[in-house]
Symmetry: C2
Subunit: 179 residues, 2 copies
């Protein structure tokens, strides 16, 4: 929430990449349609695989009400919330789709009421990207390093001190060479 | 590394706030003096406490050589590195000051050689803010929620659905300052 086109595109892209890498199924950027962010995220999905969804523009209350209407739960990451270690067990125990809301300092007070949980990653001023990363890591019990991203054109091969990228198919090789 | 004044100020501020909240002692922004980032981070430290240091401008190789010269270790967070779960025990076992290097995609190849460890938080394209957050959380064994930030003017009081901030009294400030 609170994305401002142009000014915030880089931070919002960080939110999207963090969400994808740490196991979220998708991201909704509320209120501000931003085709630039959408296309850079889709390009990453195309190259590195998986089925991460990105949507920009829908009104935030509409998203939250729709989510809850379908039985999902809503968690708002905010420095003012309850500490993550106190609530993580309760959150993990709920078998419902989870919508994690992050935004800037100017989050409307109404968000605090709409959320099923207001959760803090440290009670300090914090980056929403950093808070989202720590939350998703905890939520997935630190197991997202095992995630698979099927259908990629390329894969990074972990390395002690190089940059090793494996191209997955010939077709992919060709298209990369042409770029 | 790789901070560009104006264009990157918001992302770099996210790096600084994440580092501070998750227990780093300070941050050095290499090559690009940026008084704007310095002053916004110092303002957070003044209001929310602790002794987090911020410095901008020194040449990156100079910082790394100085750090190693004093016996410190250097860890570079990069999607191309070894997976965090494989190396965290080894890193935690070393009793030396740790410099964690993050930057943009355009990191020079030399950095990979200078680092004692190249470490990835998932082998996926990832935000350096998100990677730093997960790394610091693991490095501190998920205990940074217990950290103290002495000398603050205000403290956030964790809350189920409100925004509660306690102003720390002058007397308290004073006695803390005397410590």
């Amino acid at each position: 929430m609170g994305h401002r086109v142009f000014r915030d595109s880089r931070v919002t892209t960080h939110v999207c990449l963090t969400a994808r890498a740490l196991g979220a199924s998708g991201v909704i950027i509320a209120n501000s349609p931003d085709k630039g962010v959408e296309s850079s995220v889709r390009e990453v999905v195309k190259r590195f695989g998986g089925s991460f969804q990105v949507e920009t523009g829908p009104e935030w209350r509409h998203v939250i009400r729709g989510w809850k209407g379908e039985g999902g739960k809503v968690l708002h990451l905010t420095a003012y919330g309850l500490p993550l270690p106190k609530v993580i067990d309760q959150i993990q125990a709920v078998r419902a789709d989870l919508l994690v809301v992050v935004g800037s300092e100017k989050m409307p007070g109404e968000m605090f009421k709409l959320a099923d949980w207001n959760v803090s990653v440290t009670s300090q001023p914090m980056s929403e990207v950093g808070a989202l990363a720590v939350f998703l890591d905890w939520y997935h019990s630190h197991m997202e390093f095992e995630l698979d991203f099927p259908g990629s054109e390329m894969q990074i091969v972990p390395s002690k001190e190089g940059k090793i990228v494996k191209e997955v198919s010939r077709v992919a090789c060709k298209s990369l060479a042409l770029d």
